[in-house]
Each structure stands twice: as structure tokens, then as C-alpha cells.
């Protein structure tokens, strides 16, 4: 249960009167364990029972995070990471959607393209890194390409499956109303696949964040992934944990943003609230 979901639950008190209270309680419950552990660790280190060098206590991590934020470094790193994820996700999601739509809609395209794409999918995306570096250089282009490759597959699979799964019965209604091919796509097929498409985009976005770490660990001069490597090389676990926390927050915010943007389009769904 996240901050965003609580906020949403609180936004709609009329429609689901019981929900805000219950969500709020559950959210509190979710925070109990990490907070207790943090306090315990802080106390163990403060009391001198544990030394806290390799696993710094929350206060030290907090101070590091604050220091990074105050100096503007955090913003630079987070900005670089977000830019890469954004560009890679945009390209990968676009390509995945187009290819998914084509193979989902045209049997010919499916038999032509799908086997190759499935074979490519079997390659762990990280394996592309050396090749991408040779092709696109060591700077941004190769990183964005890696992220795009990671985002592509879940989106492609999701869209293709969604199109094949469209209910024949509902398409028939479109035929009865004599929709043109274009109108059929716009008025029936697109709305029908929208929920699955959004789920596919969300899993794509999650993978995007996974691959940005890989890309930045392998060579970058800025970005949260760079902060991880930097912390390792300088022997500063506090900086590593600060970067990890930043990743968690960014990832969750990006996902929440995607959900928030798409929520109005899914108001009709029976299970929307439970699924998202």
C-alpha cells in the first residue's frame, strides 16, 4: 500500500465510504516492520553493539541523502537517470506497441515476425550491452538502446496477446453497426485492449528501471546507478543506500504517474481499482 493509493482512496470517500479507513489502517500496518527495524538498527549502532560501517544506521543514510539533495547532486543524478528511462521507455513502448499491434492483428505478420521476436526475447537483454556499446558508443545512445530493448518485450507481448484476446462477440456488434475498418479500430479494438496495454506499459516501465541500473553501473559519469558504483569504490555504503532509496522512490512515482494518467480511461472497468 503506497502513499499514492492512500491519496486516491481519500480522494473518493463517497463512492467507497469504508475504503479510506481500511486502506489507511493497512498502510500503517505496512510501515510498522521497516520502522521498527530501522529504530532497532539505529539503537544497536548508537549503543555500540553493532559497528554500522558496512550497514550504516538510518540517521547516517538520511544525512547523506540530505547532503546530496542540498548540494544539487541528487537532482543531477536523478535527472540523468529519469531522462534515460524516459527516452528508453518511450522508444521501447512505441516499438512494442506497433509491433504488438501488427502481429496481433495480421496473421501473416505474426507468422513472419513473432518467431524471430520470441527468439530475441530469449536473449538476456544485458547480453546486448557490448554490442550496443560498439554500435552506439559509450555515452547515452547505448544506454537508451538497452533500456528500450528491455521495455520492448513486455509491451510487445502484452499488446499482441490483448489483440488476439479481443472478444469476437463485441467485434460482431461493431460489424452489425457497419463500422469501417478505421472506425472499428478506434471505437472497438483500441478501447478493448486499453487495460491490457496499460498493464503491459507498467511492466515495461518496471523493466526500464531495472535496465537503467545495469546501464549506469557499466559506465556512466552521472545517474543514480553511477552513485551506486561510486559508493562501492569509495567504500561508502551510506551513499549506496541513498541511491537505492532514490531508485525506489523514483520507480514508484513513475509507476504512480502512469496509473494516475491512465486511471480516468479505465473508470468503466469492473476490476480497475483492484487491479491497479
Amino acid at each position: 500500500m503506497s502513499v499514492l493509493e492512500i491519496a486516491n482512496a481519500l480522494d473518493e470517500p463517497e463512492r467507497r465510504p469504508a475504503a479510506p479507513h481500511r486502506s489507511y489502517g493497512l498502510a500503517i500496518a505496512g510501515f510498522v516492520l521497516p520502522i521498527v527495524l530501522a529504530i532497532l538498527w539505529e539503537w544497536l549502532v548508537a549503543a555500540g553493539i553493532a559497528n554500522g560501517r558496512l550497514m550504516p544506521p538510518p540517521s547516517v543514510v538520511g544525512r547523506t541523502l540530505w547532503g546530496l539533495a542540498a548540494s544539487g547532486e541528487l537532482l543531477t543524478h536523478a535527472g540523468a537517470t529519469l531522462w534515460r528511462v524516459g527516452a528508453g521507455f518511450g522508444l521501447g513502448a512505441l516499438a512494442g506497441t506497433v509491433f504488438g499491434a501488427v502481429t496481433g492483428a495480421l496473421p501473416v505478420a505474426r507468422s513472419l515476425l513473432d518467431p524471430t521476436l520470441q527468439a530475441l526475447r530469449a536473449i538476456p537483454s544485458i547480453a546486448w550491452v557490448p554490442l550496443f556499446i560498439l554500435w552506439f558508443g559509450i555515452f547515452e545512445a547505448s544506454k537508451v538502446a538497452l533500456i528500450a530493448a528491455g521495455v520492448f518485450f513486455p509491451v510487445y507481448l502484452g499488446v499482441a496477446a490483448a489483440i488476439q484476446g479481443i472478444d469476437r462477440k463485441i467485434v460482431e456488434v461493431g460489424r452489425v453497426f457497419r463500422l469501417s475498418r478505421l472506425a472499428m479500430v478506434r471505437r472497438v479494438l483500441l478501447p478493448a485492449i486499453l487495460p491490457d496495454w496499460i498493464v503491459a506499459l507498467r511492466s515495461g516501465l518496471g523493466l526500464g528501471f531495472m535496465f537503467v541500473v545495469a546501464a549506469e553501473i557499466m559506465g556512466a559519469s552521472e545517474g543514480l546507478g553511477y552513485l551506486l558504483v561510486d559508493g562501492q569504490q569509495l567504500g561508502r555504503p551510506d551513499s549506496i543506500i541513498a541511491a537505492i532509496i532514490s531508485f525506489a522512490v523514483l520507480g514508484k512515482l513513475a509507476d504512480g504517474l502512469l496509473v494516475a494518467i491512465t486511471r480516468p480511461f479505465l473508470a468503466w472497468q469492473d476490476t480497475a481499482r483492484d487491479k491497479l
Partner: protein, 260 residues
């Protein structure tokens, strides 16, 4: 107005669904296709709707052969088949996209009033009961004022009370523009309640077994002796249609016996 000429349909897997159907339906007439399962009622309806093509013969609507769905033919399916992403009003107005928003709104509101769903315009289909959803489907099919309305067991999934009230709604809507109606049903009482003529069909291959005229005056009283008599007659015809088929089944049973 609607005529079938030696109509046959054989599916790609060899199933002989319909054989030499010949029938004429007059303007404004309500015809019920009555029969047990597998006698090609739904196939026949899909052919009239232009959703499938006949293997032989033709269906003509006002002299024109039907090859694809037509604007002046409305279809109500067995399930409501509403678009879940459209509100009730948007669903009803689905076939009116060529009109201005103002005209559309007027027609949609009127249609919803007729099916007793005024005030439900903004709700989602999922928020409606099964009977309400089917009423939306009826409104959606009738709002375009089709001259031919096709119904494929539209009330079969509903309880008896809901069904009776929907029959009323349907007849009220029908009174307005008097479209020709061809409906498929396996419910004798429904056929007698709604139809001017009952076509009893027989399976394997699907063909017309008998035609019954149903001259009862509307509104029909389900408890009147005349209604009872018409119902008994239709039941008898349905029974005979199934008994004539029985020898086939015995043969099938024998073959099944040989298998042991």
C-alpha cells in the same frame, strides 16, 4: 419484404446447419423461429443479419440480396454485448454517430425512457443488472429505427418476471415504428406472446417443420383460454418436430452400442 429462397448453409467443418429454407415474411410481421437446440435457428438469424454468408440460395430484403450487415437491420443478441467502456447513453447512441450530438441525445433519451431506464444515462454497463443491460441492448438496436429487427433468444438468460416485463417494453417499442421482427426462441410461451406467426424448425439438417398462425389480438392475455390453446398447439408442433427426429437418435444409440 423478407424472403428466403432455397437457403442452405454448410459450415466449413461439414455441419449441415440449414437445408432449403423457403419463407416469406411480410412488413411489420413478428415471426418467431421455434425449435430445439441445433436446428439452425441462430444460423438462420446470422445469415439474415449478414454476419455469415449462405452456402446456397439467397435472402432478400425488399428484393436486395443480403451479403453484409445493413444499416436498416437491427440485431439483439442472446447476451447484451454492451461496450463496457461506454456509458449507457453512449452504448445506445453507438449507431447514431452520423447525427449531431444534440439529435443523438434526444433519440437516446427517448429510447431509454421507452425501456424504463431514464436517468441511467451516465452509468456503466457493469453497474446494471442483466435485465437492465438487455434493455440497453434493445434500446441500442431500436434507436436507429431499423425496418427489420433480429433477436436471438434475447430473454433466455433472464428470470420469468424480468422476461415478461421486457416483452412489454419490446412490444411498446415495436408499436412505435412497427418494424418487421424475426426472433429466435426455444420458449413456446414467448413465441405465443410475441409472434404473429410461429415457424417450428427441426434439426439435422435445420429445416422448417411447420408454420402456425397466431391471430390472437394484442395485448395478449396469458391466462385466456385462446392463449392456452395457441400455446398447446405450438407445443404439440414442437413435440412432433422432435418425435420425427427420434429415429435418427435411435440409430445413433445403436451405433454407440456397436462401439462397445
Amino acid at each position: 419484404m423478407l424472403s428466403f429462397d432455397r437457403l442452405s448453409k454448410t459450415y466449413a467443418d461439414g455441419t449441415h446447419a440449414l437445408a432449403s429454407i423457403a419463407l416469406d415474411v411480410g412488413r411489420g410481421e413478428i415471426v418467431a423461429l421455434l425449435g430445439g437446440s441445433g436446428c439452425g435457428k441462430t444460423t438462420l438469424l446470422r445469415l439474415i443479419a449478414g454476419l455469415d454468408r449462405p452456402s446456397e440460395g439467397a435472402i432478400r430484403l425488399d428484393g436486395e440480396a443480403i451479403a453484409e450487415p445493413r444499416a436498416d437491420v437491427g440485431v439483439i443478441f442472446q447476451e447484451p454485448r454492451l461496450f463496457p467502456w461506454l456509458s449507457v447513453a453512449e452504448n445506445v447512441g453507438f449507431g447514431l454517430s452520423h447525427l449531431s450530438a444534440f439529435e443523438r441525445e434526444g433519440l437516446v433519451t427517448n429510447a431509454l425512457v421507452r425501456v424504463g431506464l431514464a436517468g441511467h444515462e451516465k452509468r456503466w454497463p457493469r453497474e446494471l443488472s442483466g435485465g437492465q443491460q438487455q434493455r440497453v441492448a434493445i434500446a441500442r438496436a431500436l434507436v436507429t429505427r431499423p425496418k427489420l429487427l433480429l433477436m436471438d433468444e434475447p430473454f433466455s438468460a433472464l428470470d420469468a418476471t424480468t422476461r415478461a416485463s421486457l416483452h412489454g417494453h419490446l412490444l411498446a417499442l415495436w408499436q412505435e415504428s412497427r418494424p418487421t421482427v424475426v426472433m429466435v426462441t426455444h420458449d413456446v410461451e414467448e413465441a405465443v406472446t410475441l409472434a404473429d406467426r410461429i415457424i417450428v424448425m427441426q434439426p439435422k439438417p435445420g429445416r422448417i417443420f411447420d408454420e402456425l398462425d397466431n391471430p390472437l389480438a394484442r395485448p395478449r392475455d396469458r391466462l385466456s383460454p385462446a392463449f392456452e390453446a395457441a400455446k398447446r398447439e405450438a407445443l404439440r408442433a414442437l413435440d412432433r418436430s422432435l418425435r420425427d427426429e427420434a429415429p435418427h437418435q435411435e440409430k445413433a444409440a445403436e451405433t454407440a452400442g456397436m462401439w462397445w
